[in-house]
């Protein structure tokens, strides 16, 4: 019998037996470079009615563990070479899943154990209807007739709170949004009332409000059916919100296990401590006004907050005025313009020297398009952009190219932002050559210098991108951006694809570069907790508009606009004592900013409630 100190979870303490019990599990893969042990001697239990979060970074083996439970890991070339996985079934039987035959395993999958995966966009078969995909599992595991399964499918859709369930049955996956698809996937997994639900990063690819809805849905289903949940994630904030108990994994090994309170307040192992330290926690910065590096134990980082913004004459670096960017949508036989995507709608803000301004919002809000419009990587439809007094909009080809010297960009995907066929030395040196900023001999010195600044060894210069890790590639991308000494660096979700600990290091690097070189950043991100850590100013975007803008402390401590408040409410807090995701949450679906040709939106009206804190009122 487990004793649970967390009053928020509800374990049915009358049932003793764990639903699933892993005992010294070992999983190996054969690769070109030899045998790789993906999971090494893992043991833990999951009891009915509780949520166990399996947490770790990439390569930790958490996904492999869950796939092994379902015996799906063999399809990817893995082999269970040791240990037992005991599933307790009805009538007090237990069966060892690592030894069970294929037929029995098939009858367990989708029946006694359900699983949901990470990518809602590809989890559903694009050419089958929703009804078919919901019912084929039912028809397999139950004796229901055709009409009965259809009834059940409708029930399932209602249970996961999908609006308009009759219509959805007839539809195809591409007609549903990401959040709705994930609900369908959950409905499929719940169809036969499984005793264990395995969720493998189910919300990683979702927007923050949709994530909150899905997390609360899983909680509700768990409460209503008493099933056990094995929740796999790399996001410590989600762990804090969902878990009753936590299992920490690193490179295939089990590092630490305990109740969620114990893990968060008194972690025993170094790795757990480092992991927790690297996670920015929403609300931690309350009371301060400047960005502050993350405190990573074991890494020698000067833990001083970023210095105060320089107060000079030319304080304003970037001034964006009434920026509008529309993308045409073509259709019809003659490919005429049938609609416009109003990606950026009348956005205005300023960034000062040495300051970081964050643009936050969910997918489709226009923050990325805004960043690219400023660099004119896409052409804005109208508006003005003043960089250091010069209007970028009115520059022609050659002038634009030289103006770009002063503002550079770091992209999201570390794998696609470096040319796979070019050595790193050339890629970092290229901006210098393009702008003619240095002679042959000087280039070498400058490049070496920059590489030191981003804390990479000089030997990397000879390498190709595929020889580096994601975090290292982002450092190279940053090096390439700052080599020409720009005043402004636009980072478009630059750390979103990195592991938590790597993310912390890169963020600290960015802040120290800001300190050292006086850089300004336009930090585009969807991660509120990270934004809270690194920004001076924050702008919240929704449907292409800037709905609220102000200093970081104004926005985070005193959000005024309805959408900002919604966003704040949906962000999981990395503290199990502050659970904000528990009730059935439902947010407005994110609309798309597509309007018919000729649609003229209203001019935005802002109200300034404090110094510099503006809220959209229409």
């Amino acid at each position: 019998m487990t004793e649970n100190k967390n009053p928020n979870s509800q374990i049915d303490t009358q049932i003793d037996a764990p639903v699933i019990s892993l005992d010294h599990l070992r999983v190996e893969f054969e690769t070109d470079g030899g045998t790789v042990v993906a999971v090494n001697d893992i043991s833990f239990k999951v009891f009915p009615g509780e949520t166990v979060c399996l947490v770790g970074e990439s390569g930790s083996g958490k996904s492999v563990t869950s796939l092994s439970l379902m015996r799906l890991v063999e399809f990817g070339g893995g082999q269970i070479t040791g240990g037992k996985m005991l599933l307790s079934r009805d009538k007090k039987q237990t069966v060892n899943l690592s030894q069970v035959d294929a037929g029995t395993m098939r009858s367990i999958r989708g029946n006694e154990i359900g699983m949901i995966f990470q990518e809602p966009m590809t989890s559903l078969n694009p050419v089958f209807s929703i009804e078919r995909q919901l019912t084929d599992g039912l028809r397999l595991h139950t004796n229901l007739s055709a009409s009965e399964t259809r009834e059940k499918a409708l029930e399932l859709l209602k249970e996961v709170r999908i609006p308009d369930p009759e219509k959805r049955l007839r539809q195809y996956p591409h007609e549903l949004s990401g959040g709705m698809r994930q609900r369908v996937v959950i409905a499929m997994a719940m169809a036969c009332r499984p005793r264990l639900l395995i969720a493998d990063e189910p919300t990683t690819a979702l927007d923050v409000t949709i994530q909150a809805e899905i997390l609360s849905l899983i909680n509700r289903l768990k409460r209503e059916t008493g099933m056990a949940v094995l929740f796999i994630t790399h996001d410590m904030a989600v762990v804090a919100q969902m878990a009753d108990r936590v299992v920490v994994m690193y490179q295939g090994n089990l590092i630490e296990e305990g109740s969620v309170d114990d893990i968060f307040t008194s972690p025993k192992e170094d790795y757990t401590k480092a992991l927790l330290a690297a996670v920015p926690q929403l609300g931690q910065m309350a009371g301060t006004s400047l960005p502050s590096p993350l405190n990573i134990p074991g890494v020698a980082v000067a833990v001083k907050p970023v210095r105060e913004v320089i107060d000079t004459e030319k304080k304003t670096l970037l001034e964006v005025k009434n920026l509008v960017t529309h993308f045409p949508v073509y259709g019809g036989i003659f490919r005429q313009k049938v609609a416009n995507v109003h990606a950026v709608e009348n956005v205005s803000f300023t960034i000062n020297r040495g300051e970081t301004m964050a643009l936050v919002g969910e997918s489709g809000c226009g923050k990325s398009s805004c960043g690219r419009s400023i660099l004119r990587l896409v052409e804005p439809t109208s508006g003005d952009i003043f960089l250091d007094g010069k209007n970028i909009i009115s520059l022609n080809g050659r002038e634009l190219r030289s103006a770009r010297r002063d503002m550079q960009m770091v992209f999201q995907d570390p794998y696609a932002s470096l040319n796979p066929y070019m050595r790193l030395r050339e890629q970092i040196a290229e901006p210098l050559k393009n702008f003619g900023l240095a002679t042959r001999s000087e280039v070498d010195d400058i490049v070496r210098d920059i590489l030191e600044k981003v804390e990479l060894p000089v030997s990397f210069l000879r390498r190709f991108p595929h020889e580096l890790s994601g975090g290292q590639r982002q450092r190279v991308a940053i090096a390439r951006a700052i080599v020409v000494n720009p005043s402004l660096v636009i980072t478009d979700e630059a750390v979103s694809a990195l592991d938590v600990s790597v993310q912390a290091q890169v963020l600290n690097l960015m802040m120290s570069l800001q300190d050292e070189l006086g850089l300004s950043y336009l930090f585009i991100s969807h991660d509120m907790a990270v934004v809270e850590r690194v920004s001076h100013k924050v702008g919240v975007m929704y449907l292409g508009r800037l709905v609220e803008v102000g200093s970081r402390s104004q926005i985070f401590e005193n959000p005024q606009h309805e959408y900002t408040r919604t966003l704040m409410a949906a962000v999981p807090i990395a503290d199990p004592k502050k659970r904000n995701i528990s009730n059935d949450m439902n947010f407005k679906p994110i609309p798309s900013p597509v309007f018919p040709v000729g649609h003229i939106p209203e001019n935005p009206i802002y109200e300034e409630i404090e110094d510099g804190h503006l809220i959209l009122r229409n």
Binding site: R109, Q118, S123, V127
Partner: protein, 303 residues
């Protein structure tokens, strides 16, 4: 579509008009009186500006008058129709043979990727792709026609006269073509299936407890049909080129044979007609595949 047809006609007309050889001489023979030749040229309108000739040709086609073949000394229209039917039989038969063999083989290779089944499958398909069509044709003639005597090695019978006999005559050429086609389609199917099998929804299907056979042959294959059909449509173009050689080898008097005779003998009106028709048919087949695509993939809307 109309634009493409228009462009096709222009290209055909331009290319064929560079042909050396005097049309008048072809009709009347090389020993004819120069004055008579000049008169004929005048009456055939060969001295008019090219634009006029082009206009006449297009107008003729639209009104059903395709001119007369110099070689056969008959109106082209009916000849085209007859030969088209003959080739249609071969083309359809070979495509059917190819698809029936290629799809299962391709799926099988994809499922057993990088194991011996895959190597076996890809060896067979590489072999098929590498041997020239007419080589297959020769081999098949030697084996089935000469040695075994099961099928005739030449000649053509119209399906309306005797369907079974027509099939017999069409079988060997179709098989030869089909084997080469099958090889390419197998590789396409395999490539498409490996892409599909690595997608998440396949894992989700397994996680529901579905049998592996269902997962691959229903969930997986349903997604592969679309791309494979598109490639098959594109291969139609290749097929219409191959029948030129194959029909000559088998003395099968279809479109391919007709085109070849026209080219060999510099029969300009016939060349123009056959080249245009072949290109137009290929274009129409691809258009058809495009139009039918939404049946295979509900994501694509008909525009």
């Amino acid at each position: 579509m109309a634009v493409t047809l228009f462009l096709i006609s222009i290209i055909t007309f331009t290319v064929t008009n560079i042909l050396p050889g005097d049309v008048a001489m072809m009709i009347m023979g090389t020993q004819s009186n120069p004055a008579a030749l000049a008169n004929l040229r005048e009456s055939l309108g060969l001295n008019d500006p090219l634009i006029y000739q082009y206009g006449r040709w297009i107008f003729g086609m639209l009104t059903g008058d395709w001119g007369n073949s110099l070689l056969f000394k008959q109106p082209i229209g009916p000849i085209l129709l007859q030969k088209m039917t003959a080739s249609a039989l071969i083309v359809l038969l070979s495509m059917t043979i190819a698809l029936t063999l290629a799809i299962p083989l391709g799926v099988w290779s994809a499922v057993y990727k990088n194991r011996w089944q895959d190597t076996a499958g890809s060896s067979v398909s590489i072999l098929g792709v590498s041997l020239p069509d007419f080589f297959w044709g020769i081999m098949l003639i030697l084996l089935f026609a000469r040695a075994l005597g099961w099928f005739p090695s030449s000649g053509f019978v119209h399906p309306n006269e005797d369907f079974l006999l027509a099939l017999k005559h069409a079988f060997l050429p179709s098989l030869a073509l089909g084997l080469g086609l099958m090889a390419h389609l197998t590789r396409m199917t395999r490539a498409t299936m490996t892409g599909i099998l690595s997608q998440e929804f396949i894992r989700v299907a397994r996680a529901k407890g579905l049998a592996e056979k269902t997962v691959i042959w229903q969930y997986g294959l349903a997604n592969a049909i679309g791309p494979v059909m598109t490639v098959a449509g594109l291969q139609m173009g290749y097929l219409f080129g191959s029948i030129i050689v194959m029909e000559s080898l088998f003395n099968y008097t279809g479109m391919g044979w007709l085109t070849y005779q026209a080219l060999l003998n510099r029969d300009m009106p016939l060349i123009q007609a056959t080249v245009f028709v072949i290109a137009a048919v290929v274009m129409l087949v691809n258009l058809l595949v495009d139009l039918l695509y939404p049946i295979f993939d509900p994501r694509i809307e008909l525009k």
